[in-house]
């Protein structure tokens, strides 16, 4: 475990060096990350522009949910998204052997190799919007709720991670589907809607989207002290269950890996 932490520290440093080497690249991806973040917020602001309450949520609360979403997706992009892109590239070009041959756990080197520091802009964007909305809605946040909120942010990010990891495992069977990662970026977008919306459309849809809809709404509900024990339990349970299943699935998929290089 300590060994892996040390390796991760080294990787963080290497990624930082890469950032300083390719500065223009960094600025570019910061700009695009910022714009997509604004876009996600603008979408919600636009589609709710003619109403004040929806699905039992106030309009500002739905926007606040988007702020939480922006925060979670920002964190996810910093730590994980690039790694899955890297994995799909490795599969596509038949370079995955180099990962398996390293004396490291394959899940570790798939998931933690690259860091995307430019996504920090999204975390900043999400935080600013969150703080602004909390003040303008005059919510009172106590320390307990804040700590609970932060831990649920992590649960949300990990849940997203397991979903992506699950999808990426399919690439071992079908390497040319590397754009499945692009698909997952879109799937992330589903987390910015209130769960009540899916419930209202159909119960089946709600169950189908279950893991995704809790990602942002659970932290949100804990933050404003509206979470009940079922929400909290469900989020933890789903996250833990998916983490275990995806790990097994990855191992299972690896058994069918056929090397493309010599």
């Amino acid at each position: 475990m300590i060994r892996y932490l040390k390796i991760y520290k080294a990787l963080m440093k290497i990624n930082l060096i890469a950032l300083f080497t390719y500065r223009a690249n960094f600025i570019n991806s910061t700009i695009s990350s910022f714009f997509w973040g604004v876009f996600a917020i603008a979408t919600i602001v636009l589609i709710t522009s003619k109403t004040s309450t929806l699905f039992g949520w106030k309009r500002e609360e739905i926007i606040l949910l988007t702020a939480v979403y922006t925060l979670i997706v920002g964190i996810f992009h910093i730590f994980f998204a690039r790694n899955f892109e890297r994995f799909s590239r490795l599969m596509m070009w038949g370079q995955f052997d180099s990962v398996l041959l390293k004396p490291l756990d394959s899940q570790f080197s798939i998931s933690f190799w690259e860091l995307n520091y430019s996504a920090i802009i999204r975390v900043i964007l999400g935080t600013l919007l969150l703080v602004y909305l909390i003040f303008s809605l005059s919510y009172v946040i106590n320390l307990f709720n804040l700590i609970l909120f932060l831990s649920f942010l992590i649960v949300g990010v990990v849940t997203l991670y397991t979903l992506w990891f699950f999808a990426a495992s399919f690439l071992i069977w079908v390497p040319e589907l590397s754009n499945i990662i692009e698909l997952m970026y879109t799937v992330n977008g589903f987390t910015r809607y209130p769960p009540e919306m899916f419930k209202r459309v159909s119960g089946f849809l709600f169950i189908f989207t279950l893991p995704i809809v809790f990602v942002a709404s659970s932290p949100f509900k804990t933050l404003i002290g509206r979470a009940n024990y079922i929400d909290i339990f469900a989020s933890f349970f789903i996250c833990g269950l998916f983490l275990i299943i995806s790990r097994f699935f990855w191992r299972f998929a690896l058994r069918s890996y056929t090397s493309a290089s010599n």
């Binding site: 876009f39 636009l46 522009s49």
Partner: protein, 265 residues
């Protein structure tokens, strides 16, 4: 005929990527779907008609968005900026006795056809399920004008993206610009929701830009939501934008070419 041959060659190349294109299609499907789910929930809560749109006409709108986005929104700018201008592939086009604009055009069409085909299939399924809600153009005049509007929309989108590609002659940071443009198109062309639903200030911005004429008006025309005078107005404005964009393209092309240096291959 020579352009047809270019088209057929690229078409063969593109069909190698069927499964990948299917995933692309799914990706373009999910966003409208999530918005549609949002609207279904809204209609359940608020009533049957919002701003003159019923739920069925709105669902049709989103399904047409999927086809229109697959078929009309061109992705040639990356090819022009990165492969041709930055990596110097432009030389091979300059050496050939064809117009660059048209060669790129026939490079792009096969991609649009295959992606549009997936979109079309989805629409057929949708149509079979909900046909009683959908009012497609059924008169000869309606079909002809819709076809004309879609065709003009495609050329506007293509010329616009060619211009974006040509900016790589001057800008080194192409990616940032490309992402911004992508976001602007999605918002102003009506891919999020019908422009009628926009707040007033944004609606005005959108209507003086060329973007609604790429996606929004072709869809309205498909849904028979345009009255005769609006059809004529739309076509005229489309021709106006196409002329402007083509002039800009010619201008940038002649200016940019002077800046271009390439090393032989």
């Amino acid at each position: 005929m020579r352009y047809v041959n270019i088209f057929l060659l690229i078409f063969q190349h593109v069909t190698n990527f069927r499964s990948r294109i299917f995933i692309w299609f799914l990706t373009s499907f999910l966003n409208p779907l999530s918005l549609l789910i949002f609207w279904i929930a809204v209609f359940r809560e608020k009533g049957d008609v919002l701003a003159g749109w019923s739920l069925s006409s709105l669902s049709t709108y989103y399904f047409l968005i999927i086809i229109a986005a697959a078929f009309i929104i061109v992705h040639i700018e990356e090819d022009v900026a990165i492969h041709d201008i930055r990596e110097g592939d432009l030389i091979k086009y300059l050496l050939r006795p064809f117009s660059y604009y048209w060669m790129k055009f026939f490079d792009e069409i096969p991609w649009r056809i295959i992606q549009g085909f997936f979109g079309f299939m989805a629409f057929i399924i949708f149509y079979l399920l909900f046909s009683k809600f959908i009012l497609l153009p059924h008169t000869l005049v309606g079909i002809t004008t819709t076809f004309l509007i879609v065709l003009l929309a495609f050329f506007i989108s293509f010329t616009f993206k060619m211009i974006i590609g040509l900016t790589a002659f001057w800008f080194i940071d192409f990616w940032g610009l490309q992402q911004i443009i992508e976001v602007v198109i999605i918002v102003l062309a009506g891919l999020i929701m019908p422009i009628e639903f926009f707040p007033h200030w944004l609606k005005n911005i959108s209507l003086i830009s060329p973007f609604p004429y790429m996606i929004y008006y072709p869809i309205l025309s498909f849904q028979s939501k345009l009255i005769d005078s609006q059809v004529i107005q739309t076509v005229l404005i489309q021709i106006f934008w196409l002329a402007i964009l083509y002039l800009i393209y010619r201008f940038l092309w002649s200016r940019g070419l002077k800046k271009f240096t390439g090393v032989g291959q």
